[in-house]
Symmetry: C2
Subunit: 548 residues, 2 copies
């Protein structure tokens, strides 16, 4: 290929950038819908899920629907039998075959059949409660050791060994039978990956129905996965242009924060002035479980454009800041297992060692839940106004609801907004004006400097409020904020018009945030956040919120 | 360095070959001693321990005695406190420091102080029995779900979720508190290695005293290590001359079957016509947990000399047999965790794939317990004769003991033996002659063809009997035999004068054995051996034993 041909190839768009559908977020919600949306956005609390919009993995339920289209009852019966064998057989020459049969059979099942199979696994291969109760009764009959020292030591040793033995038996009896299947799959080639797919399916089922047995199955499998994926068993790998195409392909497929547009874009992200690190597990070769992209910069970037298009990049020796601008998980089945925390810590250590001139470790992060939260908040408040004008609400409802009524705009902000949009704002409240502006998918307001100036103060202030004050179960409502805060970062700065891409505008009105990792205080911040929910933020951001 | 200088360096002896002390085995035992020896040799049932005579690891107790010599009470108090903090602290910025303090402090302690500390860990950081009993009482108060289907489904879901929740709580309450320490160390740099050293210490303590709490500690730690060291988390690495010297050094240090004599020897073992594979764990880089040495041959070797000195090696394309001639574990703290089985299976698969012309997978293995068993057997029988001639035994003892009396030589073998050693055998029994021959450490009998011919039939027969019939708890008494049999191998052939080294003569009178791995029947053999103790052997070997 000649030079020109290569240049064209390198710049060819890799996939449509419309994988993210802003309409899903911006369709005008009713009050009920708004509530549901708010709940939903709170539900998706884990970084892994919120970061993975586009790709769900080649083995997920949906991609196998076709294969499963000719499933009859026979098919699932066969898979059930191989599952049963995989649990009950002693180790024989056929065990490997049985495990293969089971996993291949499972992949070929339809969503409905997978659900049925998982319910069988959860219910019929649970623990033996009768045996557990019998052991407990025996245990309770034992007298507790007195704890006296001295001549009774030997006697006590004997009594203790009875305790140890019975406690060991109880631990084993309390393990569900499906643990055997998990353990066997874990040592089987391809088994760990399969378990991650299995869990992704369980998660997608319990999102829609409340099955206690499946929740217990999920909780148990999650605990096992956490053990197997301990950081000690993960290898930190620096991904470069010299890596196999099969691995680089995974980076393109799973990059969920700032989609990779072309080969050239990919090459830059793993080239000079950048770093890309992945966590690899020996049992899942050539596919990082999670990866992070870093840009070496002079200062903490204020917009994603300067990160993605700093052409040519800064000479590495001049950098003083390592900016984490993307972190993506590749396995939906590992949701809730925080590998990112260890990855970030190890990357910081490594960069510090290799480049002592770098002293600042920061992120430029999306705020994926801001616009959803704001729109549902606006919609909820507008319902009150509607109810008031139409006078259909009875007084009881009204008085109960009044407690939740709030003008989320400051008087000054409201004035500027109504002034700036005079023609369309006639007779409307500031919140209505804001709602109309934000819900439209052509982002008219971003195309005029005057409109931008009018909308900036309320949006920046509400965004700071969202990040610092909006919580669920004592933790930050925004999934990415929660992720970095629990890792020990602090909120440093909000950046206006930092991501003008459709996705950036739809998620957060184009605002992005810098989190900062200060090595000296990472663990202390994480600890405070964990125990009290306190969110550490810079003086400036605290100021924006407190002006309210 | 010139060529000649290099040649000298490559041939320089790496360490004295006297690391194995034959006197320890061959000192004439009294009856009691013989019994104890037999028990001891049975105790050391794990391949890891029996294979590790020479090196016990740089962090073992003994090598740190010097460091601990100035230990006062203060020193152990400090380590105790850091251990306590490592368990009880919530995750804070100091946790890493605390774990470092604890492991460094532990390394610096004397054997006696380590013992004290481990007892504190086992006893004071055990589980909370009062809480466990409380939870059990609550659990037993619950009514078991009826298992009826139909309209009560929803009610049952609710009841089940109570069961799931309480069972989860019980599982957690039944975990000893020291699990926290193990888990934290596992995710701490250097922690997995430290845990392996910790377990090696526990094992060396419970070998000498019966402490139920330490046995429980060991059993729990072993279970955790088995999970963390699942084959899925281990990387199979082919070790070559291109590997770092720091890794190759480990091979020299830990090769316990056939010590590596010089750099040239090492280079051959990882060069053409050979293979060396190690299992590496990401958390213990540059140090295989276990490694295996393979020679590519035309036929199954009959002597170790032809394996170690086949100069030049066979062209690899002409090989039809992969001969495993050494397998060594580097971590005494992983005793009883069978990594070798998975290693052998994976190596067979890999070699088969890379070299389809290789169809035989066999070993040339030592028989480490044979001479010990035979000498204790002879000593035991000779005590009877002594008792008879000195007439000191009372009749009760005699009649009870008579049941165990046995001439372990065939009449024909006895005749030949007495004939061959006429001058020294005057008035002696065949067993006495044999005892006198075998107990001497100059191996006179190996220096004359006539003597070799006379001693060969009884030694070969008794060796076959030892391998096929002598068991402990239903498993082969010989540790290496037990290892290969539980992996699914069969006993193929005994080889006379296969290892004439001092170590080979001392362990097994120079006899070595070939085990064969047949891919089709590995799992079946392993299963039969596991469930019935049946030892699969070739027609020939079965014949030798049955001629009795």
């Amino acid at each position: 290929m000649n030079k020109k041909g290569l240049a064209i190839l390198m710049r060819t768009k890799m996939r449509p950038s419309s994988a993210f559908d802003p309409n899903k977020v911006l369709s005008p919600p009713s009050t009920d819908e708004a509530k549901r949306m708010a709940e939903e956005s709170e539900e998706k609390h884990s970084i892994e899920r919120s970061m993975k919009h586009a790709v769900t993995g080649e083995n997920s339920i949906s991609s196998h629907k076709l294969l499963g289209s000719d499933n009859t009852g026979r098919e699932i019966q066969r898979v059930k039998e191989s599952m049963h064998s995989a649990i009950s057989l002693n180790k024989t020459d056929v065990l490997d075959d049985v495990l293969n049969d089971f996993s291949e059979g499972f992949y070929s099942l339809s969503h409905e059949n997978r659900r049925e199979l998982l319910l069988v696994l959860a219910k019929d291969h649970d623990l033996n409660r009768i045996q557990v109760r019998e052991l407990m009764k025996q245990y309770l009959d034992l007298e507790l050791p007195s704890g006296n020292k001295g001549e009774r030591d030997i006697e006590e040793e004997g009594l203790l060994s009875t305790f140890y033995r019975m406690e060991k038996n109880l631990r084993h009896a309390l393990k569900p039978m499906y643990e055997v299947l998990f353990e066997r799959l874990n040592t089987h080639p391809g088994g760990l990956k399969f378990l991650s797919v299995l869990r992704a399916d369980i998660l997608s089922i319990i999102e829609n129905e409340n099955a206690a047995s499946l929740r217990a199955l999920d909780s148990y499998l999650k605990e096992k996965l956490i053990t197997w994926l301990s950081p000690a068993s993960l290898e930190l790998h620096r991904i470069t242009w010299d890596d196999p195409a099969s691995l680089l392909e995974k980076i393109v497929a799973y990059e969920a924060v700032h989609p990779i547009s072309s080969l050239l874009d990919l090459k830059r992200r793993v080239g000079a002035g950048r770093r890309c690190f992945g966590y690899l597990h020996p049992a899942i070769p050539g596919e990082p479980l999670i990866f992070i992209e870093v840009s070496l910069m002079k200062n903490i970037a204020k917009t994603i454009q300067e990160v993605l298009w700093d052409d040519p990049p800064l000479p590495e020796c001049e950098a003083t800041c390592a900016l984490f601008y993307s972190i993506s998980s590749t396995q939906p089945g590992l949701a809730g297992i925080n590998l990112g925390k260890f990855l970030i810590k190890r990357v910081i250590e490594l960069v510090k060692r290799e480049m002592p001139h770098i002293s600042t470790f920061a992120t430029l992060s999306p705020i994926p839940g801001f616009m959803k939260w704001l729109l549902s908040k606006l919609a909820y408040q507008l319902k009150f106004d509607e109810a008031e004008t139409s006078e259909v609400s009875d007084s009881l409802k009204e008085s109960a609801a009044a407690a939740f009524k709030e003008n989320i705009l400051e008087p000054e902000e409201e004035g500027v907004l109504i002034n700036s949009f005079r023609e369309s704002a006639a007779g409307k409240s500031g919140m209505e004006v804001l709602w109309n502006l934000l819900k439209s998918t052509n982002y008219e307001w971003t195309k005029s400097d005057a409109l931008l100036q009018a909308i900036k103060p309320p949006l920046m202030r509400l965004c700071a409020r969202y990040l610092l004050k909006e919580k669920r179960r004592g933790k930050a409502l925004d999934s990415v904020a929660n992720f970095h805060l629990q890792n020990g970062a602090i909120i440093e700065r909000l950046n206006w018009m930092a991501d003008r891409s459709e996705k950036g505008l739809a998620q957060s009105g184009g605002i992005m945030v810098n989190y900062i990792y200060m090595m000296d205080s990472i663990e202390e911040n994480a600890q405070t956040y964990f125990s009290t929910g306190h969110i550490n933020a810079s003086f400036d951001i605290n100021g924006i919120v407190e002006q309210t």
